[in-house]
């Protein structure tokens, strides 16, 4: 789904069977897959979002290659070890062009796909040549993805207008250029701008927040800003609170008690005596010294 390969409609190859390998190693051949409007709230927990530009139109999707991900989707045996399997992976290697009402003509596969076999695998059509139940479900899901592309279009235009998109770092040479949301710019958007984005639909704001949230799944070296900077900040408990989106799941600050070890025998007095202010204000000077 990263390159525009020549695709053929299923009607032309309906005699073939779907023959996926025992492992999921084929996922490593993908960079980016489209995301559906019905799944982006769930997918943002597990995948970084990214936009690709096709025919001058931005399309929203998920990064699935291990070089982008904090947690790989495949184990050493190339078996799936992810949590959520997005629609596009469930429908691989099929796509739908949206131009044909006829299901077998509308669904396409890459010409010469290694996932089709003449001798073994799952049949795509029944004995009467009609689409199988599984294929009908795949068509429904792929149609959802196509509709989602239209639904996201206005929101993505908002991001282009507001210059919220920035190129993704860490590309392999020859890869299509991908873009992620610039969370620093988004964080700087004022109330009026956010309200303007949401004036007709909340989607563009909602999606932008989900997108910034999804970046916790992106390798730090792929982020536009300095990854070392973000990591340094997240190690300090209070600094991490001021940089909430930079906290990766494996960097959750543990709660450690670093107070002085003072003998109770040395203790004297009470807070009222040493702190003439109400208890709610005793830490106001930040130094711990009672003013």
């Amino acid at each position: 789904m990263t390159n525009r390969t020549y695709r053929v409609p299923l009607r032309d190859i309906s005699h073939l069977r779907l023959s996926m390998a025992d492992d999921d190693g084929w996922i490593e051949q993908l960079n980016w897959i489209p995301v559906g409007a019905s799944e982006y709230h769930l997918a943002c927990r597990h995948f970084p979002f990214a936009v690709r530009i096709v025919d001058q139109r931005p399309e929203l999707g998920l990064l699935v290659h291990s070089r982008y991900l904090v947690r790989p989707l495949l184990d050493k045996a190339l078996k799936w070890c992810g949590v959520y399997r997005p629609i596009a992976l469930r429908c691989f290697p099929f796509e739908v062009d949206g131009l044909h009402s006829d299901l077998l003509s509308g669904i396409t596969v890459p010409a010469g796909s290694e996932h089709l076999s003449a001798s073994h695998g799952i049949s795509l059509v029944d004995q009467d040549g009609r689409p199988s139940a599984a294929l009908i479900e795949i068509h429904r899901l792929l149609t959802l993805l196509n509709q989602s592309r239209e639904m996201f279009a206005d929101a993505l235009d908002h991001y282009l207008i507001a210059e919220l998109l920035t190129p993704l770092s860490g590309h392999a040479s020859g890869d299509q250029l991908l873009y992620v949301i610039d969370r620093n710019r988004f964080d700087r958007m004022d109330h009026a701008a956010l309200a303007a984005m949401a004036r007709h639909k909340l989607l563009s704001v909602d999606l932008a927040v989900a997108w910034t949230f999804s970046l916790q799944n992106l390798q730090a070296r792929c982020l536009p800003e300095s990854p070392s900077h973000a990591r340094k900040q997240s190690t300090a408990p209070l600094a991490s609170l001021s940089q909430p989106v930079s906290i990766l799941m494996d960097e959750i600050a543990l709660v450690l008690d670093d107070g002085e070890l003072i003998s109770l025998d040395c203790m004297d007095g009470d807070l009222a005596r040493i702190a003439p202010h109400p208890p709610g204000s005793v830490a106001a000077n930040g130094s711990g010294q009672i003013a």
Binding site: L194, A195, L256, D270, I274
Partner: protein, 279 residues
């Protein structure tokens, strides 16, 4: 079959209450107390429904549903850490992820009014049942707050700073009639687990531009709350899985005596565990 009441027996022994139920003023001998890390206290470890503020959404939404608790016209933004007030019912990787207000524990706010920067700090008068360190005193011999106290007060400052905006957003949503009940009731191993008084934003509110005025007033903090609230709802599945695992673990460790013969429990009504609202 598991008798949930017996499965929770160890919890009831170590959990005399929820955070803040035994708060005392920071005066006199109280300042001579030793405090330990928040997770040393059963109250902090086990609390299932915990008040949170908007600035925590990015971190907490990865593990816990972020919803509103509404009772007696009071709306509170909360994180649901588990389906039962017991640590084993929380997703294992998230047990060390404490919401801001619990990172300040055993210090708590005076709950007599809306929490804000002027709210008084108090101490929860509880025992650290599982100390993870040797602790630290609240104040030092030099009449200073100890570093441990300073750190916790800083967490409270941060909570208090964002609490007002968080409450205002919740109240505005309530005025817009944006909430609908979020019934969480499960039958697990023949027992009823139910969390009450939780509310979510109605799906229809996200269609159109009904929430745009809120964004104009509260900006990005509101946008994060609204969106990550939706994102976080998917974490309910993780809580359910954790509850099943906890009950399974109880069954395995307690052996066949726990709960008695299955037929007895199938014949009797399942005990209902309800999460009361105080956290």
């Amino acid at each position: 079959m598991i008798d949930l009441r017996r499965a929770m027996e160890s919890s009831s022994r170590t959990q005399p209450g929820r955070p803040g139920e035994s708060r005392v003023p920071l005066l006199g001998d109280v300042l001579r107390r030793r405090i330990y890390s928040p997770r040393s206290y059963a109250q902090a470890r086990n609390a299932a429904v915990v008040p949170v503020v908007h600035s925590e959404c990015d971190v907490l939404a990865s593990w816990f549903p972020l919803v509103w608790r509404c009772r007696e016209r009071h709306t509170e933004f909360v994180a649901l850490r588990g389906l039962v007030d017991e640590e084993r019912f929380q997703p294992r990787p998230a047990r060390s992820l404490l919401p801001l207000i619990l990172r300040a524990y055993p210090f708590v706010f005076d709950h007599s009014g809306t929490i804000g920067p002027a709210s008084a700090r108090m101490l929860d008068d509880v025992v650290a049942d599982e100390p993870t360190d040797i602790g630290a005193t609240i104040t030092t011999v030099h009449h200073r707050l100890s570093r441990a106290t300073q750190t916790r007060f800083a967490f409270m400052d941060r909570f208090a700073e964002d609490a007002i905006a968080t409450a205002e957003i919740g109240q505005a949503l309530a005025r817009m009639d944006a909430f609908e009940p979020w019934p969480l009731a499960f039958d697990i191993a023949g027992h009823r687990i139910e969390v009450t008084d939780l509310f979510v934003i109605r799906r229809a509110m996200f269609e159109g531009a009904r929430l745009a005025p809120l964004l104009r007033q509260h900006g990005l903090s509101c946008a994060r709350m609204l969106s990550l609230h939706r994102v976080s709802l998917f974490r309910a599945g993780g809580l359910l899985a954790a509850a099943r695992a906890a009950l399974q673990e109880s069954c395995e460790t307690s052996g066949p005596d726990v709960g008695g013969p299955a037929s007895q429990h199938q014949a009797s009504p399942a005990p209902q565990v309800q999460l009361a609202a105080e956290a």
